[in-house]
Symmetry: C2
Subunit: 145 residues, 2 copies
Amino acid sequence: MKTFSIGEVAAHFGLPISTLHYYDRQGLLPFVSKNTSGQREFTAADLNLIQTICCLKGTEMPIKEIRQYIDYVMAGPATIAERQQLLRHHKERVLAKQQQIEHDLVEIDKKIAKYDSPAAPQMITRELQFAAHEKEQHHLANPYH
Amino acid sequence: MKTFSIGEVAAHFGLPISTLHYYDRQGLLPFVSKNTSGQREFTAADLNLIQTICCLKGTEMPIKEIRQYIDYVMAGPATIAERQQLLRHHKERVLAKQQQIEHDLVEIDKKIAKYDSPAAPQMITRELQFAAHEKEQHHLANPYH
DNA sequence: GCTTGACCTAAACCATGGTTCAGGCTTTAA
DNA sequence: TTAAAGCCTGAACCATGGTTTAGGTCAAGC
């Protein structure tokens, strides 16, 4: 079982090295050791934890919260309940966001479908006219061209 | 059909007024007119467009791209194809991101389940020991406690 | 043994998406 | 008719999540 250089790890996860440095600075990689000449050596276990970090980041967990999670991990088995709570809470947020996106996508799909209709130019022209009319009614400048 | 003040619109969409000002500065609200004394008056049609902006923002479309879309809208029916392409492209990106999140959530769920097991403390202690062992093997400092 | 590519840190820089502040007009309700 | 609340602009400020630069050390191949 060999160890990996930062360049290898970066390539493996498709991240710039600078991002790994940044994560380290933010306290996300306290588990990564350095060899006697100061270079980071990543073990297999390290890669697993970085994989987890990538999952959390991929689901938009803020760095500070990832850091909290990592701190729990570093503290050993005593923090299992806290880790679980943190992950559960995160999961709920992500699911809620997924729901909202789902909803927004429906609206966007409606727009796409509308633009697909052969009657789209007429409909849109009418809408534009109505909008202009509405402005006029209220003695407002017409911003449409 | 009345018009709405910026405060009313902000309340309606659950946004700070400052965000609407910001959007206007970024060119997202060229369709909003001002009355003779310089205050914005939002019409019903304006609210519809802002609703669309909220959908795009809710699905993480960057401001610049929302602006492009709005520019197309302002240009009238001639840009229907461009609007559709923009929305289709956006939709694809959102779906891809949803997929990736789905995948990440599975991993997170595994963690949660693992922490749920009564054997979790033992498992985690063993993992920790193994990680420490791996470090030792490579003559690296043990960062765990 | 020397060059080249990989790595190190610290600090500066950057883009994005806002928020806050200052100073001044407008509208509304007492 | 006047005070309070609401709106205006421009500019400064901020947090987040990195990236870039500078100046130096380290390691691998020739």
